[in-house]
């Protein structure tokens, strides 16, 4: 069977290649390097995003597609060092309160208007403060002003020092939006939201809802000779197995992490001519954890929470449930991010110890049945719920699973109406950006599923996190975060399960696809398809 | 083989008189086997007969006698599962039993055609009547093009359909029963076949329409010389139309002969029984009723209609118009009329199965229309009904015991007491107490009707309304049930309202009769005087249409 499949995909591919060759001939040769110009890249967007206006919506699929249209001032290397993008260079003042950016000249919006420091000042100082549900928290807290000093120079003043400020200029956090289109309008209903206008290498062409999104090359892109690709299609395929099949048959050439179930990744990566990488997620470093509602019995007892961590086998979760595309987590910070303490040890899988802890806690488990609120984002999360149920039952918990769709899950987690549920969140390169939100007692607020929903409250942790955020000294920050990690693991502030490794699968003839710490969310102006 | 007059040796063959030359049809020793599991091995067993050109031969018998099968054989249209097992069916010199399917198709409609019992179901409801005849013409390649339409117009004119130009465009459901049967006859005549098979062609029709159709068939025979094999259960019709009669019983031909011979001097005991059971048209001398008026209707009026909606107009039919009558203890009132005359509506209004719109119904002096529903229930107990269809009037899922006792129990009697009376009554109506344990489908039609009567009697009624209680029964059973009615009435001094379309039945049972036409009682009086000297034109028309008056004169 696999033989047969292989042959199939090969013939399909060669057909595509023929077509590409034709396109390449007609394109002007730039002479430089070995990069081939032209060609179509087919990817998948899953689920279909609500909009492509990146300043208004930052869901994963939106970022993926709109990351080709919009740009921010910087991008980040795999070790999370800022790299120039729309900003050529930047300077931080000694007190850590003023940042000045020198912008690329000659950048034009897709509608032909020039991109200037006014746009940056408007975007960061006005627009995103209103529309960005994650960045607005940071901006409103730390940003005093954003000013255009000249058409290519912009200055940010902070109210107090903020360590990870330079990590903010990633395209999904601070995407630049055109002032001349949005200034003074109702952002939500601006008609341009349907036809996004950015500075990126690809322009919006067409969106057939339920079918595909079509982007085409921006001929006036500010990086000369780029992009190499002519066009990109993002296809909408609601069923996971069908998405795997699409890749297998060569209809799409790139699979992003999460596009197909991990079981299919295992199969597809073994196909000939397929390249796999788990790189390109360093900025996000998604970490899966279990939220136990600290307000309610039995999880108000720290020993019960510790027992839970002994009752489940993180290795089994990583190897079987996530099919090897995960790594057991040792704490709240992913090992691919800054400040992770590698010496930290997670609780070992030990049912006997779990039972002991339950006994020590003095909690009568039969009086506190546990409901697992399932996490509605794919098969492996369902398996995870089933697995955790089994594990807890062996320790003596009474467990049932409550199914939920995305709406109910978000609602109930936001309203703290759960016993135990799962979640995974991006870390955004720095604990102050992606991690602290889950542990600060000031963030015990209803209304968002990505706050401190489990209700963890420790003043010492609060102090550590606040101090670390305001510091601009990496060494000091590292010490503070190490202490935080120890407490969070000891007290099971959350049940850390796994660092998810999202695998990018692509056909081997596609080059320069994953280059930075934001991977496929990158503009792809460097990517090209080999003849 | 039964010994009958005019039997050939060996087989019971009965031929027409040889004087008229070669017979058109010769059926010789025909047997048709029934599928395994039937109530007898043969549908038809060893019958032989002939039909001469231009002759009308009636096949008479009760239901299940095989008379229809005999007719269908001549068309080669036996129901699936039936096959000719022996014998010959000769049309001229050709044995239809051996004919190919194509040959049979060529004969059907051209040489032999057929008239069915139910003219509505015999016509395809989705096609215009003209299309259905055109189809027949087309199948035989006759009267192509415009000639076809002219032919149909001629035929419609011939069979007496009014306004042929208009009717030709009609769908079957737009025609009256009589018109439909004329259309069917017109279709049968379209290619002037030598033989027409008529399977109970008038049974579904009213008596006046029946008389017209019989006239038409006689005219066809006279004008066209067509032979007609006429299947019927009605000796009156036989007497009116037949040249010769074949009597069938359980698949066998028991008697045959010229109509007058057979009807005057039936030889076979079965024929004698059948003929004896036909009620006479002259009123019987009944014991006189009492004086007390038990039931009176005054000005009963009922309209049916579909109420108007937002987008359609209301429609009304005046079903009963100001009907009035009285019934005394021990008296039977016959309500006579054709279908649609409102007689059933009147009967149901009396027991308030239908709510009349106006008028009074006085039962033992109290107006049923104005008393409360509570006291009506206790009055209703004494006002009972016997229904037409003996099968549908008994709940198939209940044992007879429950059927009889449910009524009294509903009025507060104990089940045990009611059961004692049920055992008595079941004997009274001529069944054994064992019947109480059985279900309705285990009984014959006549027995079921006896159970229906017993059910009414369980309530110890003063009045019984009987709605066509014998019309669904074979003639011999009908006679027994009528006998039972007479006997019960005399014994229990019941007042009875007896609804019937059959003047002969009315003559046997009724002290007085009310004749209804289009919802109105047009004539009302003692049976003897109405029968002797009908006053109203419609009544006279009814009497004129009663078939078999010759038969009555032969029986005197």
């Amino acid at each position: 069977m696999s033989n047969r499949v292989f042959k199939t995909s090969k013939t399909r591919l060669s057909r595509t290649r023929l077509a590409l060759a034709g396109l390449a001939l007609s394109a002007l040769s730039m002479g430089a390097a070995a990069q081939t110009k032209g060609g179509t890249l087919n990817g998948i967007v899953q689920p279909e995003p609500p909009t492509l206006m990146l300043g208004m919506n930052q869901q994963a699929p939106t970022i993926y597609v709109a990351g080709k249209i919009y740009q921010s001032l910087m991008t980040y290397s795999p070790d999370l060092k800022p790299q120039p993008e729309l900003a050529k260079s930047w300077v931080m003042s000694a007190d850590g309160l003023t940042y000045t950016f020198e912008l690329e000249p000659n950048v034009k919006w897709h509608d032909g208007k020039p991109f200037t420091a006014e746009d940056v000042a408007f975007t960061v100082g006005t627009f995103l403060r209103k529309t960005h549900p994650r960045a607005n928290v940071v901006l409103n807290r730390y940003l005093a002003s954003a000013t255009a000093l000249s058409p290519t120079k912009v200055e940010f003043k902070l109210k107090e020092p903020f360590g990870p400020f330079l990590l903010l200029f990633e395209v999904s956090t601070l995407p630049m939006v055109p002032k001349h289109i949005y200034d003074g309008t109702d952002y939500a209903t601006n008609p341009a939201n349907q036809t996004p206008i950015g500075t990126g290498p690809f322009k919006f062409k067409e969106w057939k809802r339920g079918s595909h999104i079509h982007l085409v090359k921006n001929e006036n892109y500010w990086k000369p000779g780029k992009p190499y690709l002519d066009e990109i299609y993002f296809r909408v395929i609601p069923d996971s197995a069908s998405r795997a099949l699409a890749f297998e048959k060569g209809d799409v050439q790139v699979l992003r992490g999460g596009d197909v179930d991990n079981v299919d990744v295992r199969r597809l990566r073994a196909l000939k001519g397929v390249t796999t990488t788990t790189a390109g997620w360093e900025s996000y470093s998604p970490l899966a954890f279990m939220m136990m509602n600290n307000r309610k019995a039995p999880f108000d007892n720290v020993k019960v929470r510790q027992a839970v961590m002994h009752a489940i086998d993180k290795n089994f979760i990583s190897s079987t449930i996530f099919f090897g595309l995960a790594k057991p987590a040792n704490g709240p910070l992913a090992s691919t991010t800054l400040f992770n303490d590698p010496s930290l040890k997670a609780a070992p899988f030990n049912i006997a110890r779990a039972k002991e802890l339950v006994k020590e806690s003095g909690v009568d488990l039969s009086k506190s049945p546990v409901k697992i609120l399932s996490f509605p984002y794919g098969a492996q999360w369902e398996r995870l719920a089933e697995y955790v149920k089994q594990g807890l039952e062996q320790v003596g918990f009474t467990v049932s699973i409550e199914p939920a769709d995305a709406g109910s899950w978000a609602k109930r987690v936001s309203d703290w109406d759960f016993d135990l549920s799962f979640n995974f969140t991006y870390q955004y390169g720095d604990p102050a950006l992606g991690v602290a939100r889950h542990y600060l007692s000031t963030n015990i607020v209803k209304g968002s599923p990505f706050a401190n929903n489990q209700g963890y409250n420790n003043p010492k942790v609060d102090a550590l996190l606040v101090k670390a955020a305001s510091s601009t000294d990496p060494a000091e920050r590292g010490k503070l975060y190490t202490e935080f990690q120890k407490i969070a693991v000891d007290e099971v502030a959350n049940g850390y399960l796994a660092e998810l490794q999202f695998a990018t699968l692509y056909r081997a003839n596609i080059k320069n696809l994953v280059k930075t710490g934001i991977g496929l969310n990158e503009t792809l102006d460097d990517a090209w398809i080999e003849k | 083989m039964r010994s009958t007059r005019a039997c050939g040796s060996g087989a019971n063959s009965m031929g027409g008189s040889d004087a008229r030359g070669t017979p058109l049809v010769r059926v010789e020793n025909l047997s048709i086997r029934l599928p395994v599991g039937g109530d007898r091995p043969f549908a038809i067993e060893g019958i032989s007969f002939t039909v001469d050109p231009g002759e009308i031969v009636c096949v008479v018998g009760e239901s299940g006698s095989g008379k229809s099968v005999a007719a269908n054989t001549l068309m080669g249209l036996l129901p699936q599962g039936l096959k000719i097992s022996s014998g010959r069916v000769l049309l001229g010199d050709e044995d239809l039993a051996q004919a190919s399917a194509a040959r049979m198709r060529a004969l059907r409609g051209r040489e032999v055609s057929m008239i069915f019992q139910e003219p509505l179901s015999a016509l395809n409801p989705l096609y215009r009547v003209s299309d259905q005849i055109t189809e027949l013409l087309g199948a035989h390649g006759a009267y192509p093009g415009k000639a076809g339409r002219q032919r149909i117009l001629d035929l419609f004119g011939y069979v007496g359909l009014p306004e042929p130009e208009r009717l030709i465009e009609a769908y079957p459901f737009q025609l009256s029963g009589g018109q439909r049967q004329r259309v069917v006859i017109a279709m049968a005549l379209a290619l002037e076949p030598k033989l027409i098979l008529a399977d109970e062609p008038t049974t579904a029709l009213d008596v006046t329409t029946q008389a017209q159709v019989l006239d038409l068939l006689r005219k066809v025979r006279k004008d066209l010389g067509t032979a007609i094999l006429f299947v019927t259960h009605d000796f009156g019709v036989v007497a009116d139309i037949a040249d010769r009669v074949l009597v069938m019983e359980k698949g066998r031909l028991v008697e045959a002969g010229a109509v007058e011979d057979v009807l005057r001097r039936p030889q076979h005991s079965y024929t004698q029984k059948l003929i004896g059971a036909v009620p006479r048209l002259e009123p019987l001398d009944l014991p006189p009723p009492g004086d007390e008026i038990v039931l009176a209707a005054e000005g009963v009026d009922k309209r049916f209609g579909t109420p108007g909606g937002w987008f359609r107009k209301a429609r009304h039919v005046h079903a009963v118009a100001e009907a009035s009558f009285t019934v005394r203890r021990g008296e039977t009132l016959g309500i006579i009329g054709e279908s649609g005359s409102g007689k059933s509506t009147l009967g149901r209004s009396i027991v308030r199965l239908i709510e009349p719109d106006a008028g009074r119904i006085l039962f033992r002096g109290r107006d049923l229309m104005t008393i409360s529903s509570g006291s009506f229930r206790s009055e209703r107990k004494h006002l009972q009904m016997v229904f037409q269809d003996p099968l549908s009037s008994l709940n198939p899922r209940k044992r007879v015991r429950a059927i009889l006792t449910d009524g009294p129990v509903a009025h507060g009697e104990s089940r045990a007491v009611a059961e004692v009376r049920a055992a008595e009554l079941i004997r009274l109506v001529g069944l054994t107490p064992a019947a109480l344990e059985r279900f309705p489908h285990e009984f014959s039609g006549g027995q079921r009707q006896r159970i229906g009567i017993a059910r009414a009697l369980m309530m110890e009624p003063d009045v019984i309304v009987a709605d066509e209680p014998v019309s669904a029964l074979d003639v011999s059973v009908q006679a027994q049930v009528l006998e039972l009615f007479n006997e019960l009435q005399q014994r229990l001094r019941l007042a009875m309202v007896f609804i019937t379309h059959d003047l002969r039945v009315a003559a046997q049972l009724c002290h007085t009769v009310a004749v209804m036409q289009r919802g109105r009682i047009v004539e009302y009086g003692p049976t003897a005087s109405v029968f002797a000297d009908p006053q109203h034109a419609y009544t006279r028309q009814l009497f004129a249409a009663v078939p078999g008056k010759a038969f009555d004169s032969w029986r005197k």
């Binding site: 197995a241 079987t320 089994q390 699973i401 409550e402 | 009524g407 509903a410």
Partner: protein, 279 residues
Amino acid sequence: MSGFWKRYRRNWGAVAGLAILLFVLLIALFAPLLYPVSPWQMSAPPLLDPFENSAFPLGTDMLGRDIAAGLVHGARVSLLVGTISTLCAVIAGVGIGSLAGYFGGWIDDVLMRITEFFQTIPQLAMAVVLVAIFTPSLVSIVTAIALVSWPPVARLVRAEVLSLREREFVEAARVLGRPTHLILFDEILPNALPPVIVTATLMIATAILTEAALSFLGLGDRNFMSWGFMIGAARSMLREAPWLSVMPGVAILLTVLAINLAGEGLNDALNPRLRQRGE
């Protein structure tokens, strides 16, 4: 009754259907004895092939759960959801249909408008919405299936009652002065039941399919192993381990087929006249 069985026996398909159905029923009844351990228990290495290990004759799924145990316990859910939802739908349908049919007039009008209303929304779509709204659980699934499947029963019963109401034995009961509720429940309804029973049988089959479809869309009760859930869960493994979805699929197919065959047999046996005409 013996006549019923004799007629039923004539249809060999119906007999085969009944046999399969009884088999499934027995398995469902004795599931806790056959597989006392929960079907969710991960008791073996994941993805054992069928017939590879005699302790797990049908193999194991992606978490090492016994497929055979899943099938056996799934039979319980399928039959349970099928019968209970049908029962609810039949009770509702019979109630509404008989009231509408017997009383007619504005009662009939109102009830039939409601029925039409329910029929206007596509069935599966409505079931999906209802289950999603009340959060998936056996109760909400049964309720949703019952809610979308009663209208045909109501229409059938109404039609039967309408025709039976005009039958003379019902008129006879009225003339005898039997009270209305007895006329409806003692005289009319028993006679309307045979077609309802046949319809109900077929509805069980449809309900099983609907439950499976809901589970497939991720709207099943996650605390009970059901066949639809097994197919839904195995969907992502379609290429790696097709037997994971083939086996519960075949189980559904066979059960639904069996119920249909039995239903047809029941129809023939309950309506002997129809059968004869049909022949």
